[in-house]
């Protein structure tokens, strides 16, 4: 007969070594990407903007480690400079969403009544705009740049974070420890900061980590539509969009930025899983 253990999942130490291998690889990859992206101008890689027309779409070689693209530019260099764009956009936009969205959701969820209705109404209005329209509108009127793309994606993220924060705050608001704190006469900031926020963080942070990957993919989608950073600045999405027509005869020009983007988002997601497991354990001990 099945026992309680069947239904209640408990961490099994046996698997830890395999999990840690995945996490280590992910950390290594992210470290590599981040270090290269930050140090790009200082180490001796080639210029991402200058191309040699006689070497258009050439395969990886000693001169060009990952080959060249449609204009003879070094793919390796462009992938690294593209990383700068993708990482900035990811961190910036998720930051905007988390901070502004999380705060608004927290306020709405805790206070209820008209602040809730007003804030959620505003969020709904924002959500009514298909994100793509907002992105097109913002990037067309403000101009294509890393900052504006980050801003546009960040704004699109705010409502989602707000709703998650609100939903979880609503649940937490009537929990025992909050009621206890209120009964003890704790002041509002303390209740929000010390009781609710820490319990909100697991849900928000695990969503945030997922959204980092989503942000990188959103930038790729904007690149597909020609709305990402201004050329010749490289971005992973822009590179895939520009080179995808060459899939048949020069797949490396498309596969490499796609693979780099894939591995980076994969690593982020893997690390996110590890973060979540950390919070799972914490949650278990509550």
């Amino acid at each position: 007969m099945a026992s309680i253990a069947d239904v209640t999942p408990i961490a099994r130490p046996r698997k830890r070594r395999r999990i840690e291998l995945g996490v280590s690889l992910a950390l290594l990859w992210m470290a590599l990407v981040i270090i290269l992206a930050v140090l790009a101008p200082y180490i001796g890689i080639q210029s991402p903007d200058e191309g040699d027309f006689t070497e258009v779409l050439s395969l990886p070689s000693a001169a060009h480690w990952l080959g060249t693209d449609s204009l003879g530019r070094d793919v390796f260099a462009r992938a690294i400079y593209g990383a700068q764009v993708s990482l900035t956009v990811a961190l910036g936009s998720v930051g905007i969403g988390l901070v502004f969205g999380g705060t608004l959701g927290l306020i709405a969820g805790y206070f209820g009544r008209w602040p809730d209705r007003l804030l959620m109404g505003a969020m709904t209005v924002l959500l009514c705009f298909p994100g793509i329209i907002l992105a097109i509108a913002l990037v067309s009127s403000l101009g294509p740049s890393v900052g504006n793309v980050t801003f546009a994606i960040g704004v699109i993220f705010i409502p989602a974070f707000a709703r998650i924060a609100r939903a979880n705050t609503l649940s937490l608001r009537s929990r025992e420890f909050v009621l206890a704190a209120q009964a003890l006469g704790a002041r509002l900031p303390r209740i929000l900061m010390r009781e609710i926020l820490p319990n909100l963080m697991p849900a928000l942070l695990s969503y945030a980590v997922v959204m980092l990957g989503v942000a990188i993919l959103a930038e790729a989608a904007l690149g597909f539509l020609g709305l990402s950073v201004r050329p010749p600045q490289p971005s992973w999405g822009g590179m895939v969009a520009t080179e995808r027509g060459n899939l048949a005869d020069s797949p490396h020009a498309v596969f490499i930025p796609a693979a780099v983007m894939f591995l980076t988002v994969l690593a982020i997601n893997w690390l996110g899983e590890a973060v979540r497991r950390l919070f799972d354990i914490k949650a278990q001990s509550l």
């Binding site: 191309g51 027309f53 449609s70 204009l71 067309s140 294509p144 020609g226 050329p231 010749p232 520009t242």
Partner: protein
Amino acid sequence: MASSRPFAFKVSMAAAAIGIALLSATALRAAEPKQGGSLSISLESDLPTLDPLGFASFNDREAGLILYDTLLDIDPKGNVVPNIAEKIEASPDVMSFKLTLRSGVTFSDGTAYDAAAVVKNFQRIMDPKNRCRCVSDLSTIDKIEATGPLEVSIKMKTPSAHFPATLADVAGMVVSPTAVEKYGADFGNHGVGAGPFKLKEWQRGAQVVFERNPTYWRKPAHLDEVVLRPMPDEQTRYASLKAGNLDIVMNAAARDVLDAQQQKRFQVLNPGSLATNFVQINMGAPDVSDIRVRQALAYSLDRVAYNKAINRGLYKIANTPFGTGLFPHEQVDGYPSYDLAKAKKLVQDYGKPIKIKLSINAAPVSTLAAQALQQMWKKAGIETEIIPLEQVQLVRAAATRDYQVMLYRWAGGADPDKNVHQFFHSKGTVNRVNFNNPEMDKLLDAGRATTDQAERLKIYRQVNNLLAKELPYLFLTYFDNISLVNPAVKGLTPIPDGLLRLHSVWKDK
């Protein structure tokens, strides 16, 4: 009389005879067009309307040929030839034309395609309230009237040798006056003409379906049906052709053409071209108003390398506004060729640092091309900033001359005048470059005033030379509207405007 040959021999001779007869019959039948079938063609975007008043893009004009046919047509060499109109005669001073129509032609709704219908059509497209995109083509017309049941006489305000060519385009697509009367403002959803096919059904955004017009003035078409399918994504178009969901990709991308040529699976229809890619320079803007800067920009362009990188070497380098379909007008003396040293010297002579703002359409191909230009100009010491705009913004910027340098293209017209007059005449309606040169004006007006081919050749040669000297445009390449075609489709003739005439096309099932 008893036969002198054995029975078996007779049988085998008979069998051989029958066999040969059958073989020749099948051989003949193989060359004969099959009736029936449906042809699907990709469009770059959905048609805005079926009314010629709104036709602008390549797509639209293709639908126009299918539904309306034209008064005159273009032959594979780019000459203007009769079509629904039997002949067009010009007066010696080229100030008036006489158009003679074929007899017995009707629209698909039965209305007679006669002089009255043609005159009504002209009045309709020339009415400023209707805002036809073709209005600039007809700006020199003074008066049009029917001088006989099948005869139309057209008087011009100024000599207009270019006029016949406009009747091979949108201005020559005549609509049924009865249908216009009947549908009024809704005509754009119905489109009744005298073309080889008539409208069966329009599923907006998904497909436009045409069916055979049984009263077409040539014999009725072989195909039962033609389907135009809007497919905005270039990669999807070629993938659909390869997957067997599509018969023809029009205006195929260079890399897809190369792939098709290598794979030898599809027919590659290259009709030559009337169209040119170029960089237009606003001669009133800072820095580029100086001829040395324009020359530096021209000399630093390695167009062979550019063509190889952007177009896989597929198109021809252009030194004039006249594509291969306008042969032999593409000859010029002294257009700047690639000379980096000379470019650098010109930049030095100019003295001041040069920063160029290059406005482009934000599409991937233009973006790539712009970056190529940016790199080449950098080698000569000229800094370039790329400004991507949506197509609508780009056109507005050009119209209001709110740009310094712009990457652009012109689809071309079948008469040389159409590729130069409106752009370079000081009173030209589409003169976006602030080009004001009395010698050019004289040449362009002279080009319109004579139908003598030799004379015109000399005039347009001088136009080319003047353009090469003043450099309001930096010519890059001609681009050919190449179509990739399912091998089962037969009977397509390559015509330099890149459009497909479907009246004799058939499908080998």
